[in-house]
């Protein structure tokens, strides 16, 4: 009766282990710790002096191992068992029970001889098996929690990647950043990102190697195609189906980000080129014309092209006298004010600047964009220039009385010129060449302050469209002798503010 009572007590104590394992497992959070709890509880419940527990994959890779009371390294035994090449028939372990954790993970628990030397009964073995089957649920749960944690970390990586885009503008840094984040999320110890180059050949864009010390050779790898390349990850433990799906998800996101990055870089390059070009063009073109030229809406005239244009030249009357009266610095300041205003007006009518020569400005209307009313624009610009210059003089005069008598003369000639880059390979100038250029210069030279001299072609093209509210209407043509022209030149004089 006493023996039966003791046996019953022992069985109750061993059954309590079922409950106790749950209580202990609730206090730990990793598979190795759960394994340690299960093994130590079983050893205590059955009085074993030696015990071994391990889990891993079907390829023989050990995920967690726990040994108590043994002296030899049990890793080889565990690997052989996991890969299926050996059972748990070691003489060191009198009871061996398989652990089935999930589709990818299995293992075993072995109990060695008891302290009392008593053999394990059939009932003992059944009870060990029952306890192990129950305990597997805790291993399964802790692995699920671990997997969930990995997913949460991976989702955090997805978010981090999106945020990191803003701070990794260069493609090279972005490649390294993406690869490192994905590798860490998947706990890979090695990873590469390869992308196709311009010739379509796969080139390694980034490489990642974990810095957590020396690793066992990576037995498991995953290769995911990207839109323009591929992502390769490797680690010692097997990738679960869910992890592979996660790699696919991250790879897709990486593909989109890399494509966006490539487009962004292309856009930036184009923008830089446009800014450079715009800076150049806006030195002699109206911003609106420069914009249309950059966008390709206006064909460039870099090669010499023969085009009808209206050439306008404006020059200050009395500037030679002024130069002798004022300091050079003041003269420069006045000229900058004046040329700035004249340029603004020229651009307002979408004229193009050819060059500045001292206090003269040479511009033209009709290239690179031709308008049906280029001659009219030129004349209207000339009238505006006179009005603006009068304003300037009123501004200057109180402080600089020498300016009070200043005025400008303007000449406009219309006809064919050649527009294009002229010069040598080292220095090119976008300019116009042709008789209207010379004629405009001669007409300007003969124009007194407040006057606009138009050649016959300009007058014929513009007269009907002018309202003469701001200038006088010429009653008749004049004839002037102009250097370089054999015959007297017919001129129409408009007077502004007369």
């Amino acid at each position: 009766v006493i023996d039966s009572a003791r046996e019953l007590d022992r069985r109750l104590f061993q059954l309590e282990t079922l409950y106790e394992i749950g209580r202990e497992c609730a206090r730990v959070h990793s598979a190795p710790q759960v394994l340690e709890v299960i093994l130590s509880m079983l050893m205590g419940a059955f009085g074993a002096t030696r015990g071994l527990a391990f889990i891993g994959d079907h390829h023989g890779q050990v995920e967690a191992i726990c040994q108590r009371g043994g002296s030899a390294d049990p890793t080889g035994l565990a690997e052989a068992y996991l890969s299926g090449s050996a059972g748990l028939d070691s003489p060191e372990y009198e009871v061996g029970v398989a652990l089935h954790v999930d589709e990818l993970t299995h293992g075993a628990i072995g109990l060695g001889p008891r302290l009392t030397g008593a053999a394990y009964s059939a009932q003992d073995r059944e009870l060990v098996e029952a306890i192990v089957v129950n305990a597997c649920a805790y291993l399964h749960n802790v692995k699920l929690i671990d997997a969930l944690g990995r997913k949460v970390r991976a989702l955090a990586v997805v978010n981090e990647i999106a945020v990191g885009m803003a701070t990794h503008p260069s493609a090279r840094r972005l490649h390294g950043f993406l690869l490192e984040r994905v590798a860490r999320a998947l706990e890979a110890d090695q990873a590469t990102l390869s992308l196709r180059d311009a010739r379509g050949e796969m080139v390694m864009a980034a490489r990642y190697a974990s810095t957590d010390g020396q690793h066992a050779p990576s037995a498991h790898e995953v290769l995911v195609p990207l839109r323009e390349g591929e992502l390769w990850l490797s680690r010692p433990s097997v990738f679960s189906t869910e992890e592979r799906a996660l790699v696919d998800l991250l790879a897709r996101q990486c593909g989109v980000i890399l494509e966006n990055s490539r487009l962004f870089e292309t856009f930036l390059t184009q923008q830089q080129e446009q800014f450079r070009l715009r800076g150049m063009l806006e030195q002699y073109l109206a911003p609106s014309v420069a914009d249309r030229l950059i966008r390709g809406q206006t064909p460039p005239t870099l090669q010499g092209m023969r085009l009808p244009v209206s050439v306008l030249m404006v020059d200050i009357r009395g500037s030679t006298h002024l130069i002798n009266q004022v300091e050079p610095e003041l003269m420069v300041s006045l000229l900058n004010d004046y040329l700035g205003r004249m340029t603004d007006i020229l651009f307002a009518f979408e004229g193009t600047i050819d060059k500045f020569e001292g206090d003269a400005l040479l511009g033209f209307f009709g290239a690179p964009e031709a308008h049906a009313d280029d001659a009219v624009r030129a004349v209207k610009a000339a009238v505006e220039m006179h009005i603006a210059f009068a304003d300037l003089v009123r501004t200057w005069a109180p402080r600089h009385p020498h300016c009070a008598t200043l005025g400008i003369g303007i000449g406009i000639a219309t006809g064919d010129v050649v527009v294009g880059n002229i010069g040598s390979a080292k220095r090119l100038e976008h300019t116009i060449i042709g008789p209207p250029v010379n004629l405009a210069a001669r007409l300007t030279a003969k124009a007194p302050a407040g006057a606009v001299h138009l050649d016959a072609s300009t007058w014929a093209a513009a007269a009907d469209a002018l309202d003469f509210s701001a200038c006088s209407r010429p009653r008749r043509a004049r004839y002037i002798r102009a250097k370089g022209f054999r015959d007297p030149v017919r001129v129409y004089r408009l007077e502004v503010g007369a």
């Binding site: 206090r27 509880m41 079983l42 205590g44 009085g47 009371g69 302290l115 009392t116």
Partner: protein
């Protein structure tokens, strides 16, 4: 820390006493082994495990104590027990531990028994 086990090693010739306090569970294995090794380094031949301040002990804790008894047997040392509650006395007895680690009512009783042996 709920798992924590505190140990103290005392010389009470001819004993070396290991005072255990707290919980003797799965994670008692390491501190218990450390205390045992310290006692061994002091040349202990008779090691008394004093469990009077143990709040909780489960089968994993028993496994840890079995570990010490096994190690002591290999090293020709004797392990003695004291401070067990009646419940744990029953458990230790039923598991056959008291055969290999005799149980004493008190530290003094263990000391006298060893001294007079």
């Amino acid at each position: 820390m709920p798992h924590e086990l505190s140990t103290r090693v005392r010389d009470v010739p001819p004993l070396v006493v290991l005072d255990l306090s707290g919980e003797v569970t799965t994670f008692a294995q390491e501190p218990l082994m450390r205390a045992y090794r310290e006692a061994s380094e002091r040349g202990a031949e008779n090691i008394l495990l004093n469990l009077s301040a143990v709040d909780y002990l489960n089968s994993a804790g028993i496994a840890a104590i079995i570990g010490i008894i096994s190690e002591a047997r290999k090293a020709d040392q004797r392990v003695l027990l004291t401070g067990l509650t009646p419940h744990y006395q029953t458990v230790f007895d039923m598991m056959g531990l008291t055969t290999y680690a005799p149980l004493f009512e008190s530290e003094e009783a263990a000391r006298v028994a060893v001294a007079s042996a």
